[in-house]
């Protein structure tokens, strides 16, 4: 119990961010008209591509002779980029069509 409490104190910043972000995420989405659900899902999909930052960090730490880490890290960066670029471009294409209607 004591351990848990001290863990919470030690990581309170992160825990606060998690809690607040949960509320922000729910708030922000709550007002979306159903028309925009698909683009929204796609946009959110692109945003979690932020996982690529982790891939870059991991890749940036890999020793030059650690081929396993280099190969896996390389793959991770490629996949993360696919998620980010593909996600944003697809979302943009969907929204472009809404725009054309002069709304």
């Amino acid at each position: 119990m004591n351990e848990l409490l001290s863990w919470i104190t030690a990581h309170q910043q992160i825990i606060y961010i998690v809690v607040l972000m949960i509320f922000v995420g729910i708030e922000v989405i709550g007002r979306v008209p159903s028309v925009l659900h698909t683009p929204l899902m796609s946009g959110a999909n692109a945003i979690h591509g932020v996982v690529i930052i982790g891939a870059i960090i991991v890749m940036g730490k890999a020793e030059h002779d650690n081929y396993a880490a280099l190969i896996l890290g390389f793959l991770a960066v490629v996949l993360g980029t696919l998620n980010v670029v593909g996600g944003f471009v697809v979302t943009d294409r969907m929204l472009e069509m809404f725009k054309k209607k002069g709304r």
Binding site: M21, G25, V35, A44, G54, G60, L79, L95
Partner: protein, 477 residues
């Protein structure tokens, strides 16, 4: 040191752009800009990390490889995203989502190998002795969630693009629960195992997580896929957030949790629109035992068919036609032909509108995207409540491949599995014409009483073909 502060600032800006971007995405007028704002923030965060990141005095190494990887991902991602057809959007989102999940999975793998390497130097100890618990938890959570999301998304992609059929068998739920238990057990065993065995348990956990992802999505029916994709989308968000824990990286944390929370809510909104609980979708108890109820009494009922030329005639002489597009229209990719018919009818002085059920098509909002692609004006698309007010003034309702969303049983039959689901009340119109490929029930597996009502006529055939022929008929008449 200066760099570190600058990076912190960039991360802060990126986090704010994600929130603002999501918010702007919630209004039609600002949505596109919102997406671009978030993309800009992402770009800042990525290049900031490459050039400014520092850990214990070490900057990012292997920059060359990273840039090559970025270039490959950008070119491939861009090309796929630009080439994909609008009707294939859902599986595309699923595919990109799977890439994010795989990325999180690989990060966890590499970090584990690091830890394992360090731990190996003290043989005879347990893995937990050389690894901080919080860090391990973040890694293993990233591994599990990432790989479930990856495997699940790929199966969802294959299913939506028609390369993989639904597979369900007896005892599937038990198998899935067993997988889940094993995944958690594997994660715990790994932590408490001796350093020699830890890796074995870790890779075991990885394999079972992947299997779970596959078996979790395999039995889920086509029309439920949007819910599953949305759910997997929020999974990947959480997986990204675990990276935030690992590196104490605030932008990964904010972005990941934001999507995790928003995705979960979106999933629940979709379930609500279909009047189903998330549990129901995931466990999938829907398909099996629904043939009782109204279907049993439906055996002797008769429906009447209508010919193409009669349909064209009826619509030609109508004052107001409401088109109800559904899954069938999306599958047949008939949106352009549908718009052509609309124009022909308008030229003949007929008022044409579209009634859009929130879950029509393959994803909420999917119909709007498809019809927008075909240049149907935005103001012709009515949402469910508006449409329900207008049906009674309509002479003809043309239903294109929609079924459960117009089933009156949702209002009248408490025994029906879809009872309580909001529907389009098409039976208020004077005439209802239903285009379907056959009399087969929709994905809910139940009969639709609407088809047997006296004012309803059936027009069988593929939506695109039927619409093309209708266009010809209308032109001639």
């Amino acid at each position: 040191m200066m760099q570190q502060h600058l990076l912190t600032l960039l991360y802060l800006i990126a986090s704010v752009t994600f929130i603002i971007g999501l918010k702007m995405l919630s209004h039609p007028a600002s949505a596109r800009k919102g997406n671009q704002v978030a993309a800009l923030g992402m770009t800042l965060a990525i290049f900031g990390t490459i050039f400014l990141y520092e850990d214990a005095g070490m900057g990012i190494q292997n920059k060359g490889f990273i840039f090559v990887a970025l270039a490959v991902g950008t070119v491939v991602g861009w090309m796929i995203a630009k080439k994909v057809k609008m009707t294939a959007m859902p599986e595309m989102v699923s595919l990109f989502n799977g890439m994010g999940g795989a990325c999180a999975m690989l990060i966890a793998l590499i970090e584990f190998n690091h830890l394992n390497h360090v731990a190996q130097q003290n043989p005879g100890t347990t893995f937990s002795e050389s690894v901080p618990g919080g860090f391990y938890l973040a890694i293993v959570a990233g591994l599990i969630i990432g790989s479930v999301s990856f495997a699940g998304s790929i199966i969802a992609y294959l299913k939506l693009s028609g390369k993989q059929k639904d597979i369900s068998f007896k005892g599937q739920h038990i198998l899935n629960i067993a997988f889940l238990v094993l995944v958690v057990a594997g994660a715990v065993w790994c932590y408490n195992a001796g350093v020699q065995q830890a890796a074995m348990y870790f890779y075991g956990t990885l394999v079972i997580s992947l299997l779970y992802g596959v078996f979790f999505v395999l039995p889920i029916g086509g029309a439920d896929m949007p819910v599953v994709i949305s759910l997997l989308n929020s999974f990947t968000g959480v997986a990204a957030a675990t990276g935030g824990f690992m590196y104490d990286n605030k932008v990964m944390l904010t972005g990941g949790i934001l999507v995790g929370a928003a995705g979960t809510l979106l999933t629940m909104l979709m379930c609500k629109a279909m009047n189903r609980s998330l549990l129901n979708v995931v466990i999938g108890s829907f398909g099996g035992n629904t043939t009782n109820g109204s279907a049993a009494s439906g055996g002797a009922q008769h429906y009447k068919e209508i010919s193409l030329s009669d349909t064209a005639m009826v619509m030609n002489y109508a004052n107001k036609v409401m088109i109800v597009p559904g899954y069938g229209l999306a599958v047949a990719q008939a949106q352009h032909t549908c718009h052509e018919l609309e124009n022909l009818l308008i030229a003949k002085g007929v008022e044409v509108k579209y009634a859009i059920h929130p879950v029509a098509g393959r994803m909420p909002g999917h119909m709007n995207v498809l019809l927008a692609e075909a240049d149907v004006p935005y103001d012709k698309l009515l949402e469910m409540e508006q449409a329900n007010d207008e049906f009674k003034t309509c002479d003809v309702v043309l239903i294109l491949g929609a079924n459960d969303v117009v089933n009156p049983a949702a209002k009248t039959d408490p025994a029906s599995p879809i009872y309580g689901m909001p529907i389009l009340e098409v039976e208020l119109a004077k005439t209802v014409i239903v285009n379907k490929r056959s009399m087969k029930p929709g994905y809910a597996g139940i009969e639709n009483e609407l088809f047997f009502q006296p004012k309803t006529s059936m027009l069988f055939g593929d939506a695109k073909k039927v619409l093309q022929e209708l266009c010809n008929e209308v032109k001639q008449s």
